[in-house]
């Protein structure tokens, strides 16, 4: 039977993480010899459905019903559960974003289904599909099977390429949603989002991250200049976030964002297990740290032992020169 991908909407737009998740859905459907559908819930879902109809799905279903117009786990999980039961989907996926992590286990709870978080790949095994996922801050890869008729999973955005439009067009239809808005015990109030001109951390080709070594707001500014010279996204260690120097959603690591850019430059970051868990899949890692014993050098392809307040201004200059030529 077919599988279902739940797309992610925010303020009327389809979020980027949906596209790698579509690739995961496509791979899983192929492995199972079946098709996949996409579900969009929320304001802008109808327009979003048009955007997603040529990514290889059989059906794209959308709803802008009042109860699901804004995201709450309560309403969206209920709507999705009803649809899964009605259509008989055997697997449900979403991207492992903060929304996917909030929603999918609730859906699994409603469906009494087993769940895998943060899947990075699938294999066929003796007992059906084997899901691969990191555990222990990425220091182990687990092979997991699900023992219930319905499988729920979130997939790690960095482990799958973003789906691109191709041949074939899905049937687009409005999804039946019968969630009673009045009966919900939760209410969305508002977003308080940080606006930034820089690329999104999880999508950027280059990420420059600041650690405690940057010391203060002046130091952060320096790292921002480097990021801007490279057209890079800005990241941070938890120490910097805890100091209030940069917003929390820039935290890279086990409990923050997982990134896998072509180039990751860690400035004044020691390389704690929890930080490394979030960036060790970058293609090229550069570390700038004045302590040559810092563990970050164990994962860095290029390590520069130097004071970042000396090295980074020079690096900015060089990058600007290289870009100009």
């Amino acid at each position: 039977m077919a599988i279902l991908l739940i797309a992610e909407m925010r303020e009327g737009e389809v979020r980027h993480a949906t596209f790698p998740a579509v690739t995961a859905a496509k791979q899983l459907a192929e492995l199972l010899g079946t098709e996949f559908d996409i579900l969009l819930l929320g304001k802008g879902a109808q327009a979003g459905a048009e955007r997603l109809k040529d990514l290889g799905a059989a059906n794209v279903l959308w709803s802008e019903a009042e109860a699901v117009a804004e995201y709450t786990a309560e309403a969206h999980a209920q709507a999705a559960a009803d649809l899964v039961n009605e259509k008989g989907y055997t697997a449900v996926l979403a991207a492992a974003t903060t929304t996917g992590k909030d929603l999918m286990p609730r859906l699994a709870g409603l469906l009494d289904a087993g769940m895998v978080s943060d899947a990075i790949g699938f294999e066929k095994g003796d007992e059906g599909i084997v899901y691969l996922r990191p555990m222990y801050a990425g220091n182990a890869i687990a092979r997991v099977v699900i023992d219930t008729p319905i499988h729920c999973l979130t997939v790690r955005e960095t482990a799958f390429d973003a789906a691109t439009p191709g041949a074939g067009s899905a049937a687009v239809a409005e999804a039946p949603v019968n969630v009673d808005a009045g009966g919900l015990k939760a209410k969305f109030v508002e977003y308080q989002l940080t606006k930034s001109e820089r690329p999104e951390l999880t999508e950027a080709k280059v990420v420059v991250s600041a650690g405690r070594g940057v010391k203060d707001a002046e130091g952060v500014k320096l790292i921002e200049q480097l990021a801007d010279a490279l057209g890079a996204a800005l990241g941070a260690s938890r120490a910097v976030v805890d100091e209030g120097l940069l917003p929390n959603d820039l935290q890279v690591g086990q409990t923050g964002k997982i990134v896998a850019p072509d180039l990751y430059i860690a400035c004044g970051i020691s390389g704690a297990i929890q930080h490394v868990a979030g960036m060790k899949d970058a293609k090229v890692i550069v570390a700038i740290n004045k302590d040559e014993e810092a563990p970050i050098f164990e994962v860095a392809d290029y390590g520069l032992v130097d004071d970042l307040f000396k090295a980074v201004p020079k690096l900015i200059e060089k990058v600007q020169a290289a870009r100009a030529s």
Binding site: A73, D102, G109, M115, P134, A186
Partner: protein, 249 residues
């Protein structure tokens, strides 16, 4: 207000785990176990609420007899009493844990359940949401700030791109993120006092729970190691390597 805080026993997260040769698990010899760090934030939040407006905090830890140590550590942070659910050697993943937590909830009927947002060993991030679904309660995950008003909680949640504000009816399930508060250190008198607090030992059967595992780990393997890197002597050399060797600039 009565608040339930489930706490997990995890291997010290600051030490890199070693896998057993046969991939069936991790080496536990010589490893010290701690309260799951996120659960300390959950305990701290619950204790602050009761310090301000009265009530009590009870902890629940599911595992074996060794979880008593975990609970004593949590009680030393200000919780009032605890349940130790002894699995008699069985092991459950998040959905089975949620089955048991739901049974405890039904016995105690707390006003609020605060959990950690994730176990730092499995990184599952599932038990709270599953618990809320099973009980038909509202959830507010990844809390940055919790404000209690009558009959409801207004929670600022950490989400991609910033914060989201959500209102949930009580009783509700909340999970703690790292900026929720700064957990206290247990003082010596608090540690002494914790030794005398009640830890009620029960089995899932005592609670009327029939936990199930719905997912199973077949085995663990090491991730592919990164190739050894190199030190560069100067910014010039670094830029040269990035341009000509790695070709990323």
């Amino acid at each position: 207000m009565k608040i339930m805080v489930p706490v997990r026993r995890v291997p010290n997260p600051d030490v890199k785990v070693r896998l057993k040769k046969d991939g069936t698990g991790i080496e536990t010899e010589g490893v010290n176990f701690l309260v799951n760090p996120f659960d300390e934030y959950a305990i701290e939040e619950a204790v602050r609420i009761t310090e301000k407006s009265g009530g009590e905090v009870f902890l629940v830890s599911i595992g074996g007899p060794e979880n008593e140590e975990t609970l004593r550590a949590g009680l030393a942070l200000g919780a009032h009493r605890a349940y130790l659910v002894d699995l008699g050697g069985e092991c459950y993943e998040s959905s089975g844990i949620a089955d048991i937590l739901a049974a405890v909830f039904k016995q105690e009927n707390p006003d609020l359940v605060i959990l950690g947002k994730q176990s730092v060993d499995t990184d599952n991030n599932q038990a709270a949401q599953m618990l809320a679904a099973k009980l038909g309660l509202a959830q507010a995950c990844f809390a940055y700030k919790v404000e209690l008003q009558d009959g409801k909680a207004v929670v600022q949640r950490e989400i991609d791109g910033g914060l989201e504000v959500k209102e949930v009816e009580l009783p509700a399930v909340i999970t703690a993120d790292l900026r929720l508060n700064q957990p206290r250190y247990a003082s010596l008198p608090a540690i002494m006092k914790a030794k005398k607090k009640e830890v009620k030992k029960v089995t899932p059967a005592d609670l009327g729970a029939e936990p199930k595992n719905r997912a199973r780990v077949l085995g663990l393997s090491e991730p592919p190691p990164r190739k050894a890197g190199q030190k560069v002597a100067s910014v010039d050399e670094l830029v040269d390597k990035l341009v000509n060797e790695a070709k990323v600039l």
